[in-house]
Amino acid sequence: MLGDFAEKYGITFPLLSDEGSDAIRALGLYNEHLAEQAAFYGREARPDQFGVPYPGVFRLDERGIIVAKEFEQSYRVRPAPALLVERTPGAAPAGLAIEKTVEREGVSTTVGVDTATYRPYEKHEVRVALELPAGTHVYAHPVPEGYAAFEIEVAPFDGLDVGAARLPEPHSFRIEGVDEEFRAYVGRVEAAIPFNIVPYQETATLSVEVRYQACTDRLCYPPDAMTVDITLQGIDLVRD
């Protein structure tokens, strides 16, 4: 059966069969929560479905040591293949399939998504990059009173499952004459939000809001906020 599956999808890497789930059990990965997970989706797990592992990915280095481990809470959610591969050293970056750029006061904001299409439950990312001119910074949380921090958000909609925003580590610095430490970003700032969309729809539109306050050594611009809409085409799940 794995042979047919491999041939049908052109898979050349090893697919290992663990009939009886002995290896899965020995590894401690037998999914003990299948019934509860199925109940979350309003389903009852069938007897022949028990024995599956928790779905996830281990990354091994050349010595076989586990360097990373990525598992999902839901058995239905999976990383998009390009994003899974991208995190492997030496692999090509996933890139942005759709991107839009807004320029304001010398700050360039690019909002994009790694894909132009989505399948239900497939985890993708909204990626935001700020390009700040020399001498300009934006604040990071925790922000001094009266200032606005760099934040990114995707507007919720029914069926959109959004993960925590990933922001880089900011620099700490002090302004001459001010007895307070600030955390801020300079240069190119890259942030991302993982998401997956649950129902199959022909299209889904992500409304991404980017907020920041740009300052130089001499002045601060008023806090800025922009919304960028990105529309993805839906592709239904593979149903055999």
Partner: protein, 56 residues
């Protein structure tokens, strides 16, 4: 009645841990051949994916 919640699982505690050597695994592949996971890597990095099922 409230919808059942998705159980919250701590995968730091489930299965092999980061920093450990991945355990030895010897299973049949799609060609019916027995594959030793560490041997087939041939000293290269690898991604080991636990897939739910090829049937479901």
């Amino acid at each position: 009645m409230a919808a059942p919640a998705m159980p919250k699982l701590d995968f730091n505690r489930i299965g092999p841990r980061v920093g450990e050597r991945f355990p030895d695994v010897r299973l049949s592949d799609q060609h019916g051949r027995v594959v030793d996971l560490h041997a087939v890597r041939e000293g290269r990095p690898a991604i080991v994916v636990f897939y739910r099922s090829a049937r479901w």
